[in-house]
Amino acid sequence: MKRIACFLIAWCLLTGAAWADSIKIPVAAAFTGQLASFGEGIKNAAILKGEEINAAGGINGTRVEIVLEDELCDPKEAATVATKLANDPKVPIVIGHLCSSATLAALPIYRDAKLPAISPASTNVSIGKMSPFYFRNVYKDDFQGLFLAKYAKLARGFQKVAVFYEVNDYSMGLMLAFMKEAKELGIKVLGTEAYTSDTTDFKPQLTKFKMMKPDAVFIPGYAPQATLIVSQARGLGMKIVAFFGADGLDDDLMLKNPDAEGLFVTTPFLPDKAGPQAAGFIKAYKAKYGKEPNWFAANAYDGVGIAAQAIAAAGPDRVKIRDYLASIDSKEKAYKGVAGNTYFDKNGDCLKDAFVKEIKDGKWVSAEKQLQ
């Protein structure tokens, strides 16, 4: 037993020495716990991208090592992980975090250590402004509201819309962004009604909507309430309207509800609408993991890609990498990834289009009409 242990330690030391000149790219997200299913796509795609980079000769000849850091989407764990990474001189950049609350906890630690980070999934509006070292290749919550207004008018031709929002920061941000853009595009917002997360009876508000006869109802909220809203609306005989929402409704819970047929939501990535540059990724992902990549996977794949490009161009220095990322600031310089072209604004937020998927026969499918 002792001999085996000695052997293992020696092996670790030897291989460690062999990888001494590798570049660590840590990926921090939830890989266990309640939100592990979100982290799974991130993990799979990051590992895949790492293997592809190494197969192509690494970054300027140096191997890439994808290191998984599990923080369970818990802000406390995220801060611990961030401190560890900030103090590791071999870490030039971080891919993470997943949940906005985890990102917000890790953000000041990376900022103080001048360690650049790219989040593939945190959509909270305030993240970008808080640190010059934070970038993200996912859109912000308010962008979804703006996009949905555009999509509702230009792709679906809705003229009259009612808005049914939950009283929380996420929903109200979405609602306000939607209303602002709707006004500019000339969509008539017939009425706005609110609900709280513990509500189960939505009929009084829906009854008002029913009398207004809107083309569609926008629900900037979460799936558990939205599934009740669509059922109760159908119960009241609102058969003509379409329902739509943002990523809060992007939950398989909606699929169990036959009344949700036709509901559509925003998503950053759709395998069948992704364009030719994504074909190789989708094929490789399917071959390795036996399923289609979701948007978490696509964004993580691009995140690692952007990080690798930055290290290749700027070297291992953290501040130089940050400056390089900040210089990707226009459509021409954009990183051409599988989930569209990524370039950053002055806050490090990305300006990227969204896609739309809808429920058809109890499954999420790409909407026929997209805004690309």
């Binding site: 009929k203 819970l253 169990k256």
Partner: protein, 304 residues
């Protein structure tokens, strides 16, 4: 939205919604008020019986594959059993203890049952699949202009009214009902007159819990959302309804439930949907300020 017809059909539809909601509050409130009537205990675990009713019926229909009617009756029976057990385990040992002790126990039982349900069924919202319920529930019974009344709403109203009527007959026309009224007036004297006080209390819990469980099944069907914390909000609302009507009074609970349900829906429909709960509680507070015993509660002086 402009014409008078639209306005009046909007009001009618809101009234229909409000009466349905009020009926459910009344069913739950009856359980609170009956128990309070006999042992002066606010049974905070009553909302959890309601929640268990919803879950039991759901499991019987989806897991065991029972027909809905069988599940409905079985669930009501099991819930009344739960009521008896709840009283036996949690409240009977404290019958002679200060009232505060039993109240704390009630809150403890409420938390315990909520967590138990979370362990058994998980915290995610459960919904009935469409094909397991009688087809008629998803059909519209009456549709005039823009006012819709579904068969499920009619079923709920009929069940509510029939069970209230039966309850009224039981309390006023049967021996056990007479015994209940006697115990609620004076426990010691009733015992001296040969009434089995504990038996009467068990019966009260059984009937109250049956009503609560039934309300749970109906709400589970109506909103098609069943989750472990559903009893909390519904319990608080029903408690408010019981107080509004006059706690201890069964007709008061019915009236209180109706008033609260309509106030909530009209408030959400015409004033502000953000403050719908605030509006319904404001109505309750206003009533209590002017009539401290509730709408048809007994005057406080009558009972010590």
């Amino acid at each position: 939205m402009n014409s008078l017809l639209d306005q009046s059909s909007l009001f009618l539809q809101q009234l229909v919604n409000g009466i349905t909601l009020g009926g459910v509050y009344a069913l739950i409130a009856v359980g609170y008020t009956m128990v309070y009537g006999v042992i002066q205990l606010i049974n905070f675990a009553h909302g959890e019986i309601y929640m268990l009713g919803a879950f039991l019926a759901y499991s019987m229909v989806t897991v065991l594959g029972l027909p809905f009617l069988a599940a409905f009756i079985l669930t009501i029976l099991i819930c009344s059993g739960f009521g008896i057990i709840l009283d036996f385990i949690a409240y009977r040992p404290l019958r002679k203890a200060p009232r505060l002790a039993a109240l704390i126990t009630a809150i403890g039982m409420s938390i315990f049952l909520q967590n138990l349900a979370m362990m058994i069924w998980g915290s995610q919202i459960k919904s009935y699949p469409r094909d397991v319920l009688p087809e008629i529930f998803s059909k519209t019974a009456w549709n005039v202009g823009d006012v819709t009344l579904s068969w499920l709403q009619i079923f709920m109203l009929v069940i509510t009214i029939v069970s209230m009527a039966i309850l009224h007959l039981v309390i006023h026309r049967t021996r056990i009902g007479t015994a209940m009224r006697a115990v609620s007036q004076d426990k010691t004297t009733s015992a001296l007159m040969g009434i089995g006080v504990n038996r009467v209390i068990s019966f009260t819990f059984a009937v109250g819990s049956a009503m609560g469980g039934m309300a749970g099944i109906l709400v589970g069907l109506y909103y098609n959302a069943i989750f472990p914390t559903m009893g909390y909000i519904a319990g608080i609302k029903a408690f408010a309804a019981a107080v509004l009507g006059g706690i201890g009074s069964v007709p008061g609970a019915m009236l209180g439930g109706g008033v609260l349900g309509i106030a909530e829906v009209i408030g959400a429909g015409y004033i502000s949907s953000e403050y719908r709960d605030g509006i319904s509680y404001a109505v309750m507070i206003a009533v209590i300020l002017f009539k401290p015993a509730g709408l048809i509660g007994r005057q406080i002086g009558e009972k010590a």
